[in-house]
Symmetry: C3
Subunit: 155 residues, 3 copies
Amino acid sequence: MISTVPRNFVIVSGTGEGYTPLNAFDAALGTSGIGDLNLVKVSSIVPPHCTRIEPQAIAPGTLIAIAYAAKTSTLHGEVIAAAVAVGLPEDETRAGVIMEYSALGHKQEVEEIVITMAQKALESRGLKIRSIESRAIEVKVEHDAVAAFAGVVLI
Amino acid sequence: MISTVPRNFVIVSGTGEGYTPLNAFDAALGTSGIGDLNLVKVSSIVPPHCTRIEPQAIAPGTLIAIAYAAKTSTLHGEVIAAAVAVGLPEDETRAGVIMEYSALGHKQEVEEIVITMAQKALESRGLKIRSIESRAIEVKVEHDAVAAFAGVVLI
Amino acid sequence: MISTVPRNFVIVSGTGEGYTPLNAFDAALGTSGIGDLNLVKVSSIVPPHCTRIEPQAIAPGTLIAIAYAAKTSTLHGEVIAAAVAVGLPEDETRAGVIMEYSALGHKQEVEEIVITMAQKALESRGLKIRSIESRAIEVKVEHDAVAAFAGVVLI
């Protein structure tokens, strides 16, 4: 096991543009407030009793676990969106789920889909839904490469 | 360094179906017995003296290291398969390897390939083979998105 | 948080060939000197006061954080390259960045691009550049699958 169980989560999102898709991704992390952290991608569980907190200062370079959706594009005029949803069950002794989705298109569609994904992930576990929190963001390609990013940091 | 060296490994596999490929992947993790863990993907070494154990209860939401193969499909009628192989060397002071493979097709072919991959990975290190353990699984797309998953949890 | 903040980094690179793309990747890790470690991919920050060191012995199977670029190919005659750049700011209290790039083509182009990526990533943070260190490598497909790999291990 890598670590103890996360106790808090933070929902973040942002968009960015840059020289390459990776630069755009890096810029989107910056606008998300996590640009100077080392992200370790996880799939993607909210432990029991893990509660949402607001973004907080974390030392630069810290390795943090994060579930995220990201999409990049270099095609002028294209709109891309990324979204995450956190689904928590009524039974607080059970784990919740994080779902991620990104696609060509607008934030409304992408957010609807990611919310449905979280609902279905809880239902497939036989759990009643206490809450679904979601976050979506979109960006249109204007000049450079762009990225849309939405994530759930597990702390 | 993120952690100490893993001391045990567990081989898991499962299939699932769902609303999206990610829901199917999530369901496949559930049937694999690791649906409520936070998976951190690693590539993919069995440390010396790291031994296989049977699946055991791990607290929901725990971050765990895992090497895995996964494939998803939404094409009605398609068969997909995922497989892992753990290759251990005769010399117990040396590390073993984990190989992952997934593809369209049936578990027999995929398992043969992943076993050969593990053999060749040990041979390319100049190691004699003590054992190869493998696990493969397949699933046919019927209604929703489906996923095939095979993994080696490093604990 | 998974860990404390990394204090040192090591730049590595290598190429390999093998039965499948994953075997080639595994062989490239071997020539990079990290073939027996469990790699956890991160994106991709150099913490303040994190300094470069030479490769050192790490116990086999250890989980390590690494930012990397990798490309594989099976097309006879194709040349592929992978590169990383570490960009450090003049202000030593601020984090640096790691950029990764891989593509069809030769190491010269790929290295130029990754250096520009690191420059732009620092500029987009409003930071003056103290140094950019880069590493690139290329390989031509001859018989089997091949892989080019360049990475920055965070210790």
